[in-house]
């Protein structure tokens, strides 16, 4: 375990040195809805490289989905988005003309949603929906696009793909719809896929199929993946790097092994302790007292201060900077590591 280092200049979560230029580098992402007392996402930063999976994990209301929608430019007009999200070393996703962004979306940057039934159009066949995106972005002929759609359904291992091409979404099971959704997302070989709770609506054996499928496709294509999830089990299973969000802020981030073996932020520790283990029972589950504060009641300092057993006056008043706890591992807590709590203070 590393000694706490002095505060870093930028209050963003750092990560292990990336092997190459990141596919996406996000800095200071802030989303505020007009009239809301607090930003729903505040000063969040991370990056993800080719072939890597970054998991953004947190509970309801932590801002993980708003983060993904902001990157895709899918937030309603009432949302004010600030910060930078440099894609492939060039364009800023947060500062693009709508037309250019629409060209990028579904092509170089694709999204997989939680509930394929609500994100697939019920009035069009699966084949038409995949082909449409190939025609739209690649200018392919209808015949070539249909061939591409068939190849994609084969790639995501949908049985009897040629027949499924003409199936409507309601004629498929949840797992098959999610495969179709993935086929559509990957149809144009995107450099980045944002998957927002892609397996949450699925049964556990189907989830295992979809996660294995995604991992295999990522290996073959080198696509970078941002995985939005609430499930620490899924994170442990597939992520290379993790950002833990709480109430709109990134509270801890780093390589997946550092997060699980050396968690620093009390929220990360409590969240991991609250999750029932699959091993023999060892006693009661740890609980995090209370609930996430309403935006109007958000403390000015650390947003976890209202629920944190270690919080003191400074926590409530001053926002803790991100400090490094090892290569690429950072946490925003005044008291980390908590073994020192009460000793130094």
């Amino acid at each position: 375990m590393a000694e706490p280092a002095p505060p870093m200049p930028a209050p963003t979560i750092s990560q292990a040195p990336l092997p190459q230029a990141p596919v996406l580098n996000v800095e200071g992402l802030t989303v505020r809805f007009a009239g809301a007392p607090a930003a729903v996402v505040e000063d969040v930063g991370f990056s993800v490289a080719r072939g890597r999976t970054l998991a953004i994990v947190g509970e309801s209301g932590c801002g993980k989905s708003v983060t993904s929608l902001a990157l895709m430019g899918l937030l309603p007009p009432a949302a004010r988005v600030a910060g930078r999200a440099v894609f492939a070393g060039g364009v800023d996703l947060l500062d693009m003309p709508p037309r250019a962004r629409a060209d990028l979306r579904g092509d170089r940057v694709a999204m997989i949603f939680q509930e394929p039934m609500t994100s697939l159009n019920p009035a069009f066949t699966i084949g038409d929906q995949i082909a449409e995106s190939v025609v739209r972005h690649r200018g392919a002929t209808a015949r070539d696009a249909r061939a591409r759609a068939l190849a994609m359904l084969d790639l995501v291992r949908i049985p009897a793909a040629a027949e499924r091409l003409d199936a409507y979404p309601h004629e498929m099971s949840g797992g098959m719809r999610q495969r179709a959704m993935i086929a559509m997302a990957l149809a144009n070989d995107p450099a980045l896929v944002i998957a927002d709770e892609p397996t949450t609506a699925l049964d556990v054996t189907i989830q295992a199929q979809i996660l294995a499928l995604l991992a295999g496709l990522q290996r073959d294509t080198g696509t970078a993946v941002i995985l939005i999830t609430h499930d620490l089990g899924v994170v442990a299973e597939v992520a290379d790097d993790v950002v833990v969000m709480y109430a709109g802020r990134a509270v801890e981030g780093g390589p997946v092994s550092a997060l699980f073996d050396d968690p620093q932020h009390p929220y990360t520790i409590g969240l991991m302790g609250a999750m029932p283990a699959l091993g023999r029972r060892t006693g009661r589950l740890a609980t995090i007292p209370g609930a996430v504060p309403l935006p109007a009641d958000m403390p000015p300092g650390c947003r976890f201060a209202t629920r944190c057993p270690f919080a003191d006056a400074r926590c409530a008043a001053e926002r803790p900077p991100v400090r490094a706890f090892g290569a690429g591992h950072g946490a925003a807590c005044w008291h980390a590591p908590i073994e020192g709590f009460g000793v130094a203070a």
Partner: protein, 361 residues
């Protein structure tokens, strides 16, 4: 938990429930066989989990056993008496003894009723109490589930998901039931809130001597809460076992696949998987023989022809597989590696500090 030989508190005997299948003008639609000839004994004082994926029939079985819907065939026995044969007064008494907590705390509480009315309704339905006595009982119930008596004057929308689930539990406890059925009681909740509700249910069970039947798909919660687990697949119980035995040495190939599919929250436990192929067949057209044979990696010709009975096997367990003895061990996963020392140390500190903050005395 009562010993194995004692009469069960609640028992399903060859219980079936088919939905639909009405004859229409030109065609007859096939019925959905949600529950297909299930026999199961709930022991007094135990926590029994019904686990399975969507369409396994676990929720329907739970509701049948609570007499919330009539079975198509078979019987439910409560304390040895056949529930279907009870007169109306007997059934009302049964309703008092069997409580239910629903999954969705947003949908299961009437938004127009105050919390005191929601929690108090079962009391005035079942007992003639004065207004003041009823108010006192409601206040005691709210305190019991970790809410404040003054919360009784508020309405459900003013509460968070976890608090609403506490209200739902208070309502279920209002008639002083002996058995509580939790139908996915924590699956709509965030992890940190889920832990609060799991602990509450366990405390209540211990203090009130309840029997718990938990219908759930979250295997971590099942492992943590239950004494025994019934694994369901397509309307049938495929395996019934004490919780540690099931998780450590699952016997049925479906139990093995199910447990192997659960993501382990430890990156050091990452392993290559061979996920179960295909989807669960439609319950309107269940395959012949063993319902699992279409996806089973060990299936043989016999499995397509003959449905295996749920046979008792040593160790207080039962399994419905023709070849369980031969394939035993095929799915025994390596135990998950222990969490790191740093995490364990910090979690202990976190819990100690949280406990001290909650109880300054």
């Amino acid at each position: 938990m009562s010993p194995v030989g004692e009469p069960p508190i609640l028992e399903a005997v060859a219980l079936s429930k088919h939905f639909g299948g009405r004859r229409r003008l030109f065609a007859a639609s096939a019925p959905v066989r949600a529950v297909d000839g299930v026999s199961l004994r709930v022991r007094r004082g135990e926590t029994l989990a019904l686990v399975g994926e969507s369409g396994s029939g676990k929720s329907t079985l739970g509701r049948l056993m609570l007499d919330l819907m009539p079975p198509t065939a078979g019987d439910v026995l409560y304390e040895g008496r056949n529930v279907g044969a009870l007169p109306a007064a007997g059934r009302r008494a049964l309703r008092r003894d069997l409580g239910i907590v629903f999954q969705d705390p947003f949908a299961s509480l009437n938004p127009r009723m105050s919390v005191a009315d929601i929690v108090g309704e079962p009391i005035w339905l079942h007992e003639a109490l004065s207004r003041a006595d009823r108010r006192a009982r409601v206040a005691a119930l709210l305190r019991r589930v970790g809410l404040r008596p003054e919360h009784g004057d508020r309405y459900p929308h003013e509460f968070s998901g976890g608090q609403r689930q506490r209200i739902g539990i208070a309502r279920a406890l209002a008639s002083a039931p002996k058995l509580l059925l939790g139908d996915e009681p924590v699956s709509a909740l965030d992890v940190s809130v889920q832990a609060q509700i799991v602990n509450l249910l366990e405390d209540l069970k211990a203090e009130l001597g309840l029997t718990l039947v938990v219908v759930a798909h979250g295997l971590g919660v099942i492992r943590h809460m239950s004494d025994r687990v019934a694994v369901m697949y397509l309307g049938r119980i495929v395996e019934l076992a004490p919780v540690d035995a099931l998780f450590e040495t699952p016997l049925h190939p479906y139990s093995q696949a199910l447990l192997a599919s659960v993501p382990v929250p430890n990156p050091r436990a990452r392993r290559p998987r061979a996920p179960l192929e295909g989807d669960m067949p439609s319950p309107t057209r269940p395959p012949p023989g063993c319902h699992f044979h279409t996806r089973c990696p060990h299936a043989r010709p016999l499995c397509r022809e003959l449905s295996p009975p749920l046979d008792a096997v040593p160790g207080d367990r039962a399994v419905a597989c023709h070849f369980w003895a031969e394939i035993a061990g095929a799915g025994a996963g390596a135990p998950a590696p222990a969490p790191s020392a740093a995490f364990t140390r910090r979690l202990t500190l976190f819990e100690a500090k949280a406990a001290a903050a909650a109880d300054p005395a």
